[in-house]
């Protein structure tokens, strides 16, 4: 897995933040925030900045 495949997840409901890979992103969208249970969309994820 390369850095470009990672995302930063920020839950819009509880504010929890963590770096995730694509499989985790898909699981969070399907199951909701693991911390608070709120529904999550792909808008809660942004690509991790990669060094130039």
């Amino acid at each position: 897995m390369t850095a470009s495949e990672e995302f930063t997840f920020v839950c819009p409901s509880c504010g929890e933040s963590m770096e995730v890979n694509p499989a985790m992103r898909d699981a969070l969208v399907e199951n909701g925030c693991v911390v608070c249970g709120a529904s999550v969309t792909t808008e809660a994820f942004s690509p991790v900045d990669t060094p130039e």
Binding site: C14, G15, A23, M24, A27, L28, N31, V35, C36, G37
Partner: protein
């Protein structure tokens, strides 16, 4: 109301009961002090593991009891007169850190409902929500059939 019949539940019966419910009472102990709280859970019958979200505040009694990976008991029961069933689970409660979170955890917590019983005045970002798993050492269940009530 007389006790007519009491039987031990099979593992498949206890798994079925635990799977169709999502709430129970979790009991913890520290020295001679008991502590019991209503909780919601997700249950993985294959691993015999329960997944719980618990909310606490820094000074809370709950935090004190949770701070040492305590031995725990979970009680789940149902009643549909004249049938009563109860399941008692013993095990150790372990916190899952954010660093160890896996896809499987996300899926399991998707099954666990929000902390339904816990009403908090603070906004979610101000709450300390911790994730725990309870690995069952023992799971036992009883099925009781009562005779007809004669009031």
């Amino acid at each position: 109301m007389a006790l007519e019949k009491q039987t031990e539940m099979t593992q498949s019966d206890t798994d079925a009961l635990l799977g169709r419910h999502e709430t129970g009472v979790l009991s913890l102990a520290r020295d001679d002090d008991p502590y019991a709280i209503p909780i919601s859970y997700g249950y993985d019958a294959d691993d015999r593991t329960f997944y719980l979200r618990l909310v606490s505040t820094p000074e809370s009694e709950k935090r004190e009891f949770l701070s040492s990976n305590p031995d725990a008991r979970l009680v789940v029961y149902e009643e549909d007169e004249p049938t009563y069933k109860s399941v008692v689970v013993t095990g150790t409660l372990t916190e899952i850190s954010r660093d160890e979170m896996t896809v499987e955890h996300v899926e399991q917590y998707g099954e666990a409902k929000r902390p339904l019983f816990e009403i908090w005045g603070e906004a979610k970002p101000d709450l300390d929500i911790k994730l725990y798993e309870l690995r069952a050492d023992t799971i036992s269940g009883r099925h009781i059939e009562l005779s007809e009530r004669h009031d």
